[in-house]
Symmetry: C2
């Protein structure tokens, strides 16, 4: 499995709109076992995306999906910066669909 934990800083006032775009664009991604979008509790402009994929290849392939490309095009102008980013190898747990 392949995992990503990443923080995104939205432009001021744009976090909720960016979250909606991320959630809409990522509903049907082959090989995606978990994709959760969360508000950061200490920074009103920050959000986290935590992802689990069958493989790094399935993650890479997702960038070719029309829904993901649309989400990137719509969301990119609302992103001020990327924060922490951790690559992981998930080994198990609950909620890997």
């Amino acid at each position: 499995m392949y995992g990503l934990i990443g923080k995104i800083i939205a432009a001021p006032g744009k976090r909720e709109e960016l979250i909606s775009i991320l959630l809409e664009g990522t509903t049907d991604m082959p090989g995606c076992l978990s994709y959760v979008v969360s508000q950061d509790n200490t920074d009103e402009n920050a959000l986290w995306v935590t992802e689990v994929w069958e493989s790094q290849a399935s993650h890479e392939a997702s960038f070719s999906l029309p829904g993901v490309q649309r989400a990137i095009a719509k969301g990119k102008p609302m992103i001020t910066a990327f924060g922490e980013r951790f690559e992981t190898t998930p080994v198990g747990g609950h909620g890997l669909a």
Copy 2:
């Protein structure tokens, strides 16, 4: 919802055993929507736990579960330190069971 992203540093050589203990002890936790344990890809002793709960209360309550208490008792001696820890408010996504 309530979310946690946390890094744990295992004692040298103890990461896999600690991961097994965490996975065994956390299979049946009321209110837990996602609980994923991952190896860090850059530190051979580090692991990540990413959690999504119905509420902060259900997370707190999990510490009273016998399985969780056993896991803490068994795993604690294998933990050298805690790393980054981020509290979040998950808003949606895929893999929330």
